[in-house]
Structure formats: structure tokens, C-alpha cells
């Protein structure tokens, strides 16, 4: 890779020299002479970009957003779990305190809060998490039906999603999720024993066979519903390509990978060497994705399709996600937190579903978490694509994965150009498929 610059990132493909201009995440193909000039101009690149007609006012200012309406809530409807995964941020479901279910009263207040600020035509998202949300199935269904009725009455569009360990899934759940168009994400950390070692039942028995047996009927019935697999990558399951191909062969709608960067017990956390190995695996999956796209085949490697869609749009944002902005996690007792990972954590406390968002805490959060204030992010070319990394992981552990993130984005930028040149029809389609 060429030397790191703050305001642009040069890269090459067989189709020539290219530059990502950080301001606005704009991607250009440029003559080699210009790439060489930019390499030699690190202190005065502004003047050169201006001369080339490529300068434009700052897309992202240091000003944090204000008065953001709530658009997405995730409900920890059960702060308990039947699995005993060692790395879990929820510490086996209870978030470090006694196991509990959300009360129907708190759940109703959360659903009402979600719809309170939404007008006809707006889109809101209701997510069920835990713990294991299916340990509180009745409340999950009641909340969904209440939200669907509110949506029907108000003209607000609602999307539903659930992340589950899959051990309690039934075909009836599948029918319910299909009826309401759920995005169902099943946590699966590898094939067979690899998964069993990372995601055992609390008694120590493996959960893989049960999860797959439960998932199969849902995979067969997905029409409106989308059933995806999410793999948390630890040093013990760095077999991404095999995992991806195996899960896609089962009929999962997509498969995504996420490195374990911070766990309450430090178990399963990835080292720099592990992240370098993961990057090689991710690129190997990406190269297969490129081959399949060129052949016109679907290959639902979620990290890749998301990255390409974001690069194509030119996404530029001062935060990694909507946590504490339009998105909140709701604890079993009805507390609002910056996201599902901060449940019960005073660092991310932001009010209560009954009294609404604590706007002062939110303003402090958004001002403090802005990527312009993060180190070393403020001088990194990837800052508006990465947004500074998951708030929870950064606050708990720091930023061990910067080289991994930049390496992945560098590869994705190259793949973007190759796909644009070889299959120009792929990207507009991909953009249409993005969630609103």
C-alpha cells in the first residue's frame, strides 16, 4: 500500500490508478501522472485537488447532529440465555446482573416511543435481542403485533429483526417471522465442532446440530423473511471461506463475519496476528465474491456486498453507526442505552422508555463520539467510512483493528473498481437492495 495520507487514499488495479478523496468518500480513476503528483504533494494536496477541479466544501463538519428522531430500537426482551458463550458482551445474557425478562409494560412503552416521533411514510425498525429473545416468546409476539397494528393505523412503515442463537426456534416461529417479514439473524460461529466449542449450552454440550435442525424449516420457508448467519470470528474459528461456503449451501440469505475485539473476560479477543489472518481470509472470500459476480451468480457474502454498496454511494459519516443518535438499546427494565451492547452500562445510559431520550446525555455522547475527536481516527483516510469503530469495543478495549479495517477497505475499493468495470450492472442493483 502507498504511504498513508489524511485526505486521500491512492490505490491501483489492472484498470489504472485510482484515488479515494476522503471528503465525501469520492472515488475517481486518475491518470498515473496525477497519482504520482499526489504522492509527492502530501502537504499541498489541497492546491493540486483544487487545480484539478476536485475540491469541494467539507461534507462532514465537526458539528454533532441535534434533534434526531428515534428510528430504531432493540429490545433486550430477555436478559438471560441458555448458551454459555465465553466471549459474550452480555455475559451469558444477564449483562452482569440477575437474569430477567422485560415486563409487558416496559415493552409497550418502548414500542409507543418508537412510533411517537414517526409520521406516515417514515420507516422505523424494531429489533429483538437478549440474552436469547426466544426465551420470552410471548412478549416478542405481542410487541410485534402491537407495532404492526400501530404501523397499520399510522402509515408508518415498520421493519422487524431478531438476532437469536437458534436453539429455541420452532417452525411456528418461522411462520410468525415470515408473516411479519422479519430479518432473522442466527449466530453461528463455524461448522460443527468449531461452533460447539465457542457456543456451548450452559451445561457444556454443543449446540450446532440443534441450531441447524431448527434453522432448516425457516430456510425453506423464507420469502418475505430473510434468514442470515452471523459469525463472530475469534482465534479459534479462522476458517472463513469454508464457513461461508458451507452456510451459503444451506440456503442462508446472507452470511456476515465480525471479529471479536472486546469481551468482558478477554476470552476470544483477536490479536494483531489473528486480525491479519482474518484479513487474508476475508480477501479470499471477497475474491470468490468477485468471480461469482462476474459470472452473474449470487454469493451472499454480506461484508462485501455492504462495503461495495457503501463505497458506491460514497457514504461519509462521522460515526460508525446510529448508536445513541436514531438508535437505542432498551434494557429489560425499560432503560434506554446507546445500543444493545451498552444495556445496563452507565457509560451509555440515555434515559428511559417512559420519559424518553435524555437529550443532555445524548448531546454529550454525540459531541464526544464524533470521529473528528477520536485518535488516531482524525488523521486516518478511512475515518468517514469506518466512523471510528464500534463505540462499545473502542471504549472497552481501544482500537486494535485499524490495520485490519484499512486493509479490508483498501481491498474493497479495488474490488469496487473491478466490479464496476466488469459488471457495471451489479452496483445499481446492489444499491436498490440497500435497506432504507
Amino acid at each position: 500500500m502507498p504511504p498513508e495520507q489524511r485526505d486521500f487514499h491512492l490505490f491501483e488495479t489492472e484498470f489504472g490508478a485510482h484515488v479515494l478523496l476522503v471528503n465525501g468518500s469520492r472515488v475517481f480513476t486518475i491518470p498515473f501522472e496525477i497519482a504520482r503528483a499526489l504522492e509527492g504533494y502530501p502537504d499541498d494536496s489541497d492546491a493540486l485537488l483544487s487545480r484539478l477541479g476536485l475540491s469541494t466544501p467539507e461534507y462532514v463538519t465537526g458539528e454533532p447532529p441535534t434533534a434526531i428522531p428515534i428510528r430504531s430500537l432493540s429490545l433486550a426482551i430477555a436478559q438471560k440465555c441458555n448458551l454459555g458463550c465465553t466471549y459474550c458482551y452480555a455475559q451469558e445474557g444477564g449483562f452482569g446482573s440477575k437474569e430477567k425478562d422485560m415486563s409487558p409494560e416496559a415493552a409497550r412503552a418502548a414500542v409507543e416511543l418508537l412510533f411517537y416521533e414517526a409520521a406516515a411514510g417514515d420507516r422505523v425498525q424494531l429489533t429483538f435481542l437478549g440474552g436469547e429473545p426466544l426465551t420470552n416468546r410471548k412478549l416478542l409476539r405481542d410487541c410485534t403485533e402491537e407495532a404492526a397494528a400501530l404501523a397499520e393505523a399510522s402509515g408508518v412503515r415498520v421493519g422487524f429483526s431478531i438476532t437469536t442463537n437458534g436453539t429455541l426456534l420452532t417452525p411456528e416461529d418461522g411462520e410468525f417471522f415470515e408473516r411479519h417479514g422479519f430479518a432473522v439473524t442466527i449466530s453461528l460461529d463455524g461448522v460443527g465442532q468449531v461452533h460447539d466449542r465457542l457456543r456451548p449450552f450452559k451445561g457444556g454440550r454443543g449446540s450446532y446440530d440443534r441450531v441447524l435442525a431448527n434453522a432448516r424449516p425457516l430456510l425453506a420457508m423464507q420469502r418475505r423473511m430473510q434468514v442470515s448467519a452471523r459469525v463472530t470470528v475469534t482465534p479459534d474459528n479462522l476458517f472463513l471461506r469454508e464457513t461461508l461456503d458451507e452456510f451459503l449451501s444451506f440456503g442462508f440469505h446472507s452470511v456476515g463475519f465480525s471479529p471479536m475485539l472486546s469481551s468482558p473476560t478477554e476470552a476470544g479477543e483477536m490479536s494483531s496476528a489473528d486480525l491479519a489472518a482474518m484479513l487474508d481470509q476475508m480477501i479470499s472470500c471477497g475474491e470468490e465474491f468477485e468471480r461469482r459476480v462476474v459470472r452473474g451468480e449470487r454469493y451472499a457474502f454480506l461484508n462485501m456486498s455492504n462495503a461495495l454498496a457503501e463505497i458506491h454511494k460514497g457514504t461519509h459519516r462521522p460515526y460508525p453507526c446510529g448508536a445513541g443518535a436514531g438508535y437505542f438499546g432498551v434494557s429489560a427494565e425499560g432503560g434506554l442505552y446507546a445500543c444493545h451492547r451498552f444495556v445496563e452500562d452507565p457509560v451509555g445510559a440515555m434515559g428511559d422508555v417512559r420519559s424518553g431520550v435524555d437529550r443532555a446525555s445524548q448531546a454529550r455522547w454525540l459531541a464526544g463520539r464524533h470521529v473528528h475527536l477520536q485518535e488516531p481516527c482524525r488523521d486516518c483516510w478511512a475515518r468517514y467510512m469506518c466512523g471510528g469503530g464500534c463505540h462499545h469495543e473502542v471504549i472497552k478495549r481501544g482500537r486494535p483493528a485499524c490495520n485490519y479495517i484499512r486493509g479490508w477497505l483498501h481491498y474493497c475499493l479495488q474490488a469496487y473498481i473491478r466490479i464496476l468495470e466488469r459488471r457495471p450492472d451489479y452496483l445499481p442493483q446492489c444499491l436498490i437492495r440497500l435497506p432504507l
Binding site: 498515473f32 469541494t56 454511494k313
Partner: protein, 284 residues
């Protein structure tokens, strides 16, 4: 290998300025609205998008046909409007409330007084321009609502290529420039706003957010209400009571079109910090 700078992703394309275009063509430097517009009237690029006819810029009405057009096309001029291109309706029924809180009713179009409204072409015809550039499309025209025997004409017309093509360093490329055949010289600057004489009066109610003050000399009152003047109020002095006259060009207290056409530069006052500017010393 490229010898040119090519904008690849969407944010790069949005910011891109085609060779020869002035700085005011970039989104962040353009002033206010795009149509009728101060720099150009973008609607005019669609008037000649179908070979053989010219459409009115806002109503789908066929205003002219080419001299060498076949008789079936020629008959359209001044009698028909375009209803459909391939599977895309370009005239659609529109419903909504006529007043705040009112029931949803069919909203009559102000040109032809029927409940069909023309769609904005940049969106409505995007698919046609993308898929049928230089090719024939099936078009449906209908006689105007006033025609007691409603007649329909189906005719196949060619879509003019929207983007200019040129040879750049030995390579044939499509450029981010509107093709000459779509917009003849002068077409883009036809039908522009003349804001001082006309459009500031025409488009009131906070339409011109940046350049036309609506409510001036505003004072907050202790009870939470406010007082002030309409920018169009005639002959204001600091002693004029802060009472807002609701905009109405027939109101003798407000500037009318004639006042503005004759004397806009004296009649309209600069507003500085929300208040009428101080009169120049000689006027005092």
C-alpha cells in the same frame, strides 16, 4: 489506462463538473431552485426528448411537431398531450386535502382542470432515458379534456440520446454533458425566473428561503407571540405598526406586480439582521 479523471462512485459523480461548465453548475454553488430557476430551467431539456415533437415544459402538452414528421405525429400538435411512455404513466391522478385537515379529494390540475397531473420528467423518464436512448418507444397521446370525443393516438417515437458523446483522445465516450440535440442554444435559459419583478411576489410564504424575506422587523412579545411586517408591505417607516398583512397581491397595502415591474429596485428594501436597512444619509 485512463488519461482522464473519471468520477466513479455516486458522490464523485454528484460533485463532478463537466469540462466547460461554470462553477455555478455544482450543487453547492447553485442558487435556490432549479425550475423555473435562476441559472437554468432544467425542465426545458425534456421538451425535445422524443424525436418529432416538442412538449410544453410543464404540462405534457404537444406544442409543436417537426415539419418533416409523419401526419400521424403532426396531428398531435396543439391538440394532444402525452399520457404514457412504454409502461410508464406520465399523467397521474393526484389526491389530497384542499385545506388543512380536509378530506382527501381529487385535486384538479390548474392547466386543463381535470384530475390528472403531469409527473416531473427527470424522475418519470429516468428509466426510459437509461434503457431506450436512441431507440423507439411506444407513446400514448390523448386529446385534451375539452374534446368531447376523447381520442387516443399510439405512436412509436425515438428517444433522443440525453448525454453528449465525443471523441476524447481517440476514444468514443459519453460525457456528463447534455446533448446538443436535446437542448438547442438558448433552450436552457428560456423561461427563467425574473425574481425581482415577478417571482418574489409570485412565490411567497417562505418559498425563497435564502433570498426573499417574508416576515421582517420581527419583535418577540412577552406572551410568546410576535409582531412584524410583510416584506411586501408598502411605504414602511420605523413607526409602521408591526402588523403582518397576509400575502395578497390585490391588497392595496402590499406591493403589486405593477409596482414591482415599474420600480422594484426602490420598492423592495434590503433586510439586514431581520430588519429594514437604515435609509442612506441623503434620504434622511
Amino acid at each position: 489506462m485512463s488519461k482522464r479523471i473519471e468520477a466513479k462512485n455516486l458522490s464523485a459523480q454528484l460533485q463532478y463538473r463537466a469540462a466547460g461548465n461554470p462553477p455555478s453548475t455544482e450543487p453547492h454553488t447553485a442558487i435556490s431552485n432549479a425550475f423555473p430557476g435562476l441559472e437554468m430551467d432544467f425542465r426545458n431539456v425534456w421538451k425535445r426528448i422524443l424525436v418529432g415533437i416538442e412538449l410544453h415544459e410543464s404540462s405534457n402538452f404537444v406544442v409543436a411537431a417537426d415539419d418533416d414528421a409523419p401526419p400521424k405525429v403532426k396531428q398531435l400538435a396543439l391538440h394532444y398531450r402525452l399520457m404514457r411512455v412504454e409502461d410508464i404513466s406520465v399523467m397521474v391522478p393526484v389526491t389530497g386535502p384542499l385545506y388543512v385537515g380536509g378530506p382527501n379529494v381529487s385535486l384538479p390540475d390548474t392547466t386543463f382542470h381535470d384530475p390528472l397531473w403531469p409527473l416531473e420528467w427527470s424522475n418519470a423518464l429516468a428509466k426510459i432515458v437509461h434503457e431506450f436512448s436512441g431507440k423507439k418507444v411506444n407513446c400514448t397521446f390523448e386529446s385534451l379534456p375539452e374534446d368531447p370525443k376523447k381520442k387516443t393516438v399510439n405512436v412509436s417515437l425515438t428517444v433522443r440520446p440525453f448525454f453528449d458523446e465525443a471523441d476524447v483522445e481517440g476514444e468514443r465516450v459519453r460525457r456528463a454533458v447534455i446533448a446538443k440535440d436535446v437542448a438547442e442554444p438558448g433552450a436552457l435559459s428560456q423561461s427563467l425566473c425574473s425574481p425581482w419583478q415577478n417571482d418574489y411576489r409570485e412565490c411567497a410564504c417562505f418559498y425563497w428561503a435564502a433570498t426573499r424575506p417574508d416576515y421582517v422587523n420581527v419583535e418577540a412579545r412577552p406572551d410568546g407571540t410576535s409582531g412584524g411586517n410583510n416584506w411586501m408591505q408598502k411605504e414602511r417607516t420605523p413607526q409602521t405598526p408591526p402588523v403582518y398583512n397576509v400575502d395578497d397581491w390585490m391588497d392595496p397595502n402590499l406591493l403589486n406586480y405593477s409596482d414591482l415591474f415599474r420600480d422594484w429596485e426602490k420598492a423592495l428594501r434590503f433586510i439586514i439582521g431581520g430588519k429594514d436597512e437604515e435609509p442612506p444619509p441623503e434620504a434622511q
